[in-house]
Amino acid sequence: MAKKVGIARALFFYQYYPLWKSFFEELGAEVVISSTTNKKILDAGVKACVDEACLPVKLYHGHIIDLIGKVDYIFIPRLTSISKKEYICPKFGGLPDMIKHTIPGLPKIISTEINLRKSDHNALKAALEIGSYFSSNKALIKKAYENSLKNYRLNRASIKAGKLPDYLTDRNLSSKIAQKSSNMNVAVIGHVYNVYDCYTNMDILSKLIKHDVNIITIDMLDSKLVNEKASTLHKKMFWFFGRKVIGSVMHLLERKDIDGIIYLMSFGCGIDAFMCDLAEKKIRHDSNIPFTVLTLDEHSGQAGMDTRLEAFIDMIKMKLNKSEAAKVITNVAT
């Protein structure tokens, strides 16, 4: 019977699920993911985790609890670093330890370290170690690793083209996001697990679509351009997400077609605390694009989010109308 390996539908699930799914399945395992985020998961996570942790980490705890009893293994990779000379955040490096010492009754945990800070040779090494739980055939594991990487890259390319896959959003929403019909372009900046988890962000993407907004997320931007911009910073940004935020913001400011920028911030996120401030300063200094921050925590109320979103969209519309009106006046005058 196939071994069941559980993956929490939280944190870097939203980045790497296709990679991990195809890797495990090629080695004959059955992949089980936790339910979509709901109140039960949120409550369980908040109860289990230390109060001071950020919401995404608390949710992760809840998702892990959701997997207990359903699987033989739970995959909690120790993501120390996923890019050269960068870290994600301290919590990712210590996540397996937080989980192991907080939640009772866990099945076997696969917590191999992935550390690509110095070089990416470690990725194959990690894959071989993870794969050894399911196969003793090294060549098979290596093949599974290479195939899953190919699959992952195709996936990323599809996201860049604006087509969000099923595991990120439902098909309906994904097709609406890909449509790009209106003339209001709003960038939504935030960690993948905030931007695409509809329960956490109170369905902000659907709400924006209802307001006739073209949504642009960081994943849809050209990484090369983003990285080029980020490399112009005075000091090298040593956080994976930090680089993406600041590079994306600088790139977005150069495009003349962005009408608004929303920063989805997690309360208690150390990285967000700094990056949001740096992004805001850049946007305010170098442009007059409307910018707002929406903070997510376990107490977030729908009404509050809706009000602020509506106010923000209204402000963008007023601004666009003003500039349309200004154009008309100029045309009449000439």
């Binding site: 301290p90 907080t102 700094f274």
Partner: protein, 371 residues
């Protein structure tokens, strides 16, 4: 160029020794105070950690006294301290304070840039003078930490309450009037002699509590609501493993010269937190275990709100508490921290430990009583 630097406990004494010996112009910011914290809270991001906020306040107060250049240490993550220099730069520019920010980073193969920055702050000093200044400043750090450790030992034993603080505070103020590492060494020696002359009760066996956590809030008394003094007054001898001199030796010196680092804490922490995840998280876990093995009566973890590595350590400490039977109290500080609330919790913690210890002593006496 008039330099200034952030406050963190007694580091100003080391900085002073270094800059005096290099002949650089500098201003020591006013000691950490409420106004500095207010200013920092106003201009820094709301969820930034406390050290960033206080440091911004330090720089603003120094700017008002004529400083135009900020000297800080850098880093490369994962924790935010490594990016403080850029945050300082952006925040100060944003509020219109024209200050240059120089960050001394561990080279990362760019030794040329490292020495260029050292050269920038050393004015006319030649290479040998710079090396000598760094050597003496490191020695000052070590001697100041030894002096502070002496106060931890004497304070709980002093017969006249407050004697230690009177002498130590005088030292912390008088050192500002001196110039150069030699004068500072002299004052340290004199202060040590004076401290050793304090009348103490040699029969007291004080409770021993280890302090672990984030480096800034464990070292800086203003930030941790003067916890060392408070505990001393309650009859507790404290111990800190994270100190400035320890940091200089383990991270800066051993980061450049390949001498074996002291990794006892990492060995101890391995079953709980086997990797370096940033900040002093591994030290927090490892040192708590080492304190337990050295039969300390309790451990207090201190960290600023939102400190990411310490949050990870905090979630693991209950398992350590359980396995090693050592009580651990976690205290989290931010700009809203109330002294009274803190004191209540510390007193309760010490109370509990005293009762636990008292009952052990009573049992021992009972065991011997029929002899």
């Amino acid at each position: 160029m008039i330099l200034t630097f952030p406050h963190m406990g007694n580091t100003y004494i080391t900085a002073k020794a270094l800059l005096d010996d290099l002949g650089t112009n500098y201003i020591v910011p006013p000691f950490n105070n409420k106004k500095a914290l207010e200013l920092g809270t106003k201009y820094a991001p709301e969820l930034a950690c406390l050290p960033l906020k206080i440091n911004i306040g330090n720089f603003i107060q120094a700017y008002e006294q004529g400083a135009d250049t900020v000297l800080v240490t850098g880093g490369c993550g994962p924790c935010r301290a490594g990016y403080y220099c850029e945050m300082h730069r952006e925040i100060l520019a944003d509020i219109g304070y024209k200050m240059d920010v120089i960050s001394l980073e561990l080279p990362d193969n760019d030794f040329k840039e490292f020495f260029r920055r050292i050269g920038k702050i050393s004015g006319k000093s030649n290479f040998f003078r710079i090396i000598k200044a760094i050597k003496n400043a490191s020695k000052v750090a070590i001697e100041v930490d030894k002096l502070e450790k002496l106060t931890y030992h004497i304070r709980p034993l002093e017969i006249r309450k407050g004697s230690t603080d009177k002498i130590y505070k005088a030292f912390q103020h008088n050192v500002l009037k001196l110039k150069g590492s030699n004068q500072i060494f002299e004052l340290i020696d004199k202060t040590r002699e004076t401290l050793l002359k304090i009348e103490i009760d040699r029969d007291i066996k004080p409770i021993k509590i280890g302090i672990v956590g984030e480096i800034y809030t464990t070292i800086d008394p203003f930030s941790n609501v003067f916890i060392d003094t408070k505990l001393g007054k309650l009859g507790v001898e404290v111990d800190h493993t994270i100190t400035v001199s320890n940091y200089i030796i383990e991270h800066l010196v051993k980061g450049i010269i390949p001498i074996g680092k002291d990794l006892e804490y990492a060995k101890a922490a391995k079953p709980y937190l086997g990797t370096m995840i940033g900040g002093h998280a591994q030290e927090t876990i490892g040192d708590t275990i080492l304190y337990a093995q050295k039969h300390y009566d309790g451990v207090i973890q201190i960290y600023p709100l939102t400190c990411m590595p310490e949050i990870v350590a905090e979630s693991i400490l209950p398992a350590v508490e359980n396995d090693y039977r050592i009580p651990v109290l976690t205290l989290i500080v931010d700009e809203m921290t109330g002294e009274a609330g803190f004191l209540t919790r510390i007193e309760a913690f010490v109370d509990l430990i005293q009762r636990k210890k008292g009952s052990k002593v009573i049992e021992e006496r009972r065991a011997l009583s029929w002899n």
